[in-house]
Symmetry: D2
Subunit: 395 residues, 4 copies
């Protein structure tokens, strides 16, 4: 069964199970000529890595990425980039109780129902561990965007855990503060409360839900294809692909239900060269006077920042006693998921959300011809002797 | 620019602009042998049709569908079904003021920024009129599902307009009552209030937002492909493709943010042959004891009903005075959208939501091999002389 | 069952059966701003039309194309172009004998085996009539190429029928002479012999095979994606999709079997600004000194003309007495296909070959970023007030 | 730039360059429950491996495949199979002369023109080394087919090198004798002559062309999608993707040009239960009395063996002195490709052709619902406790 690919022109293909030998991702559609910093890829994986704090699983994966192809002398060649991340700390023994008795509300049963087999170690391919591949792909996408003549900035932070809500913060604040605490919340006070709340659930053998706010600046106007490949359509697919997402919103989101057209609609004015720095527009361009529309009108970007929110339900793997049905014995039984698990998802999902945003934005850039698909700069069709010369001396 | 296709194996391709000559949809991937009722397709179009009540636009489109191919003697042949719906009541004159001055928060500007041209009549391809094609495709998908040996039931209703919320209603109530009022809300009292509310906004030259609850019963367990093609991923894409959607939720949705794992997780028990009629399972199967998971675990169906909610912002075309920026004159100016427009979207979006659900569910059925892609019954690879015989006498 | 789509970014989707109501094609991926000449599309359909000469079927189809969408004031809008061609002269009665007894070597049986049903009128969707859609799509692709700043010329002619071979002719001769005779062969003497040969087979109630030579000039260097989407890979798919093709060759083709590397390899020299007019290169560029490679090295274009050949077997529908097996009676029986059929395929396949070449070349141009996918000229992302203005006065 | 994927439901994605760190292939769409023999995959790689005889390149690659995912306890899990093959014997030094002077008729120049960069080591991604990935994928496809209840047999052999043609041999002879000599020709006498011929070219510092005959038995009737995804369309794409292919034919191929309809057409009779063992049909089924159609009618399989031929031009990398144009110096210069290269391609292309046939046939089987996409046997949607049980004891 398929489902392991994302993107039209920036094509991500992944493999790997939680307790298999290795995770792998192939990124096809990277233009040639991008100086690729492998340490920057690793840095993104480190942000998603398990065991980075007390409120994440203690599984000890180094998550070291190896780049097998698509790069020569530090520059991309236009051919696919194959990356592999070995699994080093899988301990399947802890999963024995669930081999024939599915964990409550986890993907255990549905995967078995689908495939007629039981990849029981760590949840197999249904595990969130698989998103390590996505983060690697997103880190490549980010570098392609950086190498282009566009200035796209993408950032997310945790804006709610349980009943603790962060204050509204500016994009600049998110950039500055969101990585300063383990929760990845840019409001330090709320972050402290969230941390406390999470620990309380953790100590109780339980878990809790949360949500993430995300924003993309510098996305050029005119991205998104009509109808089924609109910007929110593709981004909706991307966000709902992240494990345990239960809601996705753009702009006013769900709150738009009780806002009138006259309130929500934004008049058009002209960019005066001063007041619209955060908008991707030039002086004299028509610009909307606000951004309740979340940077999207008719499914296509306006040049205003694209922003929204996604919700994650509480992790299903909890130590608290629950009941399951053992299909081998035909009996119900108590289960306690005592493996190494996250008590909350958004803190580790932040880099995943950002990765999917990078992949999606880059894909739309390529689809709209804003970045050349063959080489990130220069004129295609003409060999340039000065273009990232690769000679034996360089080796 | 692309974006005019939906589905992997049940492939929908559409064309058409609001004020163009005709709308058209090609449905490829329909198995042979389905008795296709063209009147049933028409009946679905009639549900979406403009002018059907006081709270919809008064544009007078008959929306008569013509089936050009893929059917012989009333049965599908396995080849693509091409359908055309002529546009009959386009009045572009009313759009003159917006030719060089975009309507606030509409897709006018973004389409122009993308294509460098201005398809000003009725919003061109960004118009919600385009969903007439989707409803035609969904009506075909529904009939394919009905012809299979699965018993899938899909229904949606409006559960909120502005600040008026419907009571929680059962699926049976939705089936029975949702079409009894113009709002398409299965709670009659709330429906009356909603109607009143909408009319108030309408009279004020304004518009208002709303939301739809949807549910799919009888969806077999095991549908949805791992990761990027999970059931919620594809459905998320489908829902966010519907114009003016600002939020999509599955199961507890956004409310999951403040629910603990122990509360949300559902124990497994065994189907006792009595209590799980609404679940797609057999006696003795493991079944979850509740459905806070919305029929989805690990992105794959559990056999429980799949349900969720989507939010629509208020229609942007309103008679109230607004400001726009005329890029020809370089001046701002007042605009009043006096065409024929809907004061609220969910009532007409209900058949669109259902259509996208039918298309998505069928696509997953085909992808998972639950419905044969070549012929809906019988053994492929063997001509059956009794199989929907088509002889000259039948003509 | 799918199979009704061609192209990655220039996406062609078709429907229609030989004796259905209408043929239809949707072309998605046409940039905005192309002045679209509908008469030029019609002119291409007329070249493929049945009944155009004594050596084609006498079926009297006017093949009038109707453009339903994607065009405003004569210019493309960037949205999909839907086209419909009504079937006017289907006479299914003649096909009665074959309802349960397949015509020898036709697609009758295989389609029935696949779909379990029998779309007997005129061969249903397996009919070469379906290529009318492809020619319409190709005519659009041709106009997009013409509107770009590339100078691509594509032409094909019949170079062999039965044992009559045309002399080698230059591209200029093909352009000038191939449409001067009913056979569409640029060598007038061979054309006359071919005509005579065809008529001889026709009179004998039989049919005969033939082949087509094709050439594309002005194709920029660097087109074609590595490996599975190489230029010859996609073109191979395109050519083998044309009904009754049994062989496809590029460059030396099959003759390369007995040519050594040193003979076939072409040295590199520099374009001296004079001798390489037929090559897509600039003075000083490395150019190969010959073109045995058919414009393709490593699956990617060199700038030299891309050329090749394709072979068609004799049409299977012949009046001569043959035997079939009637699956209803369980008896063998004599059949004589007395409908209106072509005695040879290449003359009418010439416009189909050219259409598939146009579609493929344009698709590769879009994929390589050589033509902007959103608008054929101008800067995307910026509305241009002078850009094909469409105002109410134009109506 | 893309192009690194093959297949609709059996999806092959590859990466890797000739002198990069590793080659890799991800195979998505493998049903669960297939007992996967990794040694059998290795055995196929060994057949393609360089250095296996005097008439192949002496590059010393062990080509050891590592399976990273998709398998548990020896059975496939339904999730993608990631495989990696390290490059061990790349010696880029030999390629120094060609860094700025392309080898004649190789992909050197076209890749550089496309990507603006020069992946000079061993031809980079344009190298035939990349087909090691395809052979790994094909070996998986073969095992899926073997695990199904279909009995598909695929085999190819070299039927011509230069002017030496093999006698016509039966499928049984190909199965028995084609691997008995280094040329992989099932006619031993011709094989000896071919070997001699190749050595003669090799000694002269030259190379020569050749062709391969291929045949697929047991392919069920009804495979192949109408029009653009017909069986020959997809197979044509597959074959032309193999480096250096210049011609592809099915059935009579190019020879059909001079065969009349009455000669080529095959009457229909009924399978008498005896004479049609080589055909995929049952007693009483209509069957064609011959197979000039190559198992394909209307682009769909008839149940007769599918057969055809493909031609490879002589390898372009030859020690003989040639001229190239150095774009750095602006001067022409002599080049001699003294690396380790094959003097002829078909002997090593045989396993590649077979691999592409396996992949294509399996993909069509999945598309036509003949093999369940989720699990190769059993009823999907129902967990089977006896189904390839995987318990901790097995570890």
């Amino acid at each position: 069964m398929n489902g392991n690919r994302f993107g039209r022109l920036f094509q991500v293909t992944t493999y790997g199970e939680s307790h298999g030998d290795a995770m792998g991702v192939t990124v096809s559609g990277v233009p040639a000529g991008v100086e690729l910093d492998e340490e920057a890829i690793q840095a993104q994986l480190d942000r998603r890595k398990p065991g980075q704090s007390m409120i994440t699983t203690s599984r000890g994966e180094p998550d070291e990425v190896v780049v097998n192809s698509g790069v020569q002398d530090g520059y991309t060649t236009g051919t696919p980039i194959g990356m592999v991340i070995q699994n080093k700390d899988a301990r399947s023994g802890k999963y024995e109780p669930y081999v024939t008795a599915p964990r409550p509300s986890h993907g255990d049963y549905t995967y078995s129902a689908k495939f007629g087999t039981r990849n029981w170690g760590g949840g197999g391919r249904s595990s969130a561990r698989e998103t390590v591949n996505w983060v690697a792909a997103g880190a490549v996408a980010e570098q392609v965007l950086d190498a282009s003549d566009h200035d796209v900035e993408i950032k997310a932070h945790v804006n709610r855990i349980g009943d603790v809500e962060a204050d509204d913060v500016s994009f600049e604040q998110i950039l500055e503060h969101s990585e300063e605490n383990d929760v990845r919340c840019a409001d330090p006070e709320a972050a402290a409360e969230m941390q406390e709340l999470i620990e309380r659930y953790q100590e109780a053998g339980d878990s809790i839900g949360g949500s993430i706010y995300f924003e993309c600046r510098g996305v050029p106007r005119g991205l998104g294809a009509p109808r089924f490949d609109g910007f929110p359509s593709r981004l909706g697919q991307a966000m709902f692909s992240i494990p345990a997402t239960t809601g996705v919103e753009f702009g006013l989101g769900k709150a738009a239900v009780n806002v009138s057209g006259s309130e929500r609609n934004e008049d058009w004015t002209f960019d005066d060269g001063e007041s619209f720095d955060h908008v991707e527009s030039e002086e004299g361009d028509p610009v909307p006077v606000g951004n309740d529309h979340g940077g999207l009108q008719g499914g296509i970007t306006t040049g205003e920042p694209v922003y929204g929110e996604a919700t994650w339900h509480a992790p299903t793997s909890i130590p608290k006693k629950q009941r399951s049905a053992d299909w081998e014995t035909g009996e119900e039984k108590d289960v306690q998921v005592v493996g190494r698990h996250d008590p909350v998802l958004p803190p580790r999902a932040v880099p995943v959300v950002e990765a999917m945003l990078y992949c999606t934005v880059l894909d739309f850039m390529l689809l709209a011809g804003r970045i050349n698909p063959d080489r990130v700069d220069g004129n295609p069709g003409q060999y340039d002797t000065d273009y990232h010369p690769s000679s034996p001396d360089n080796e």
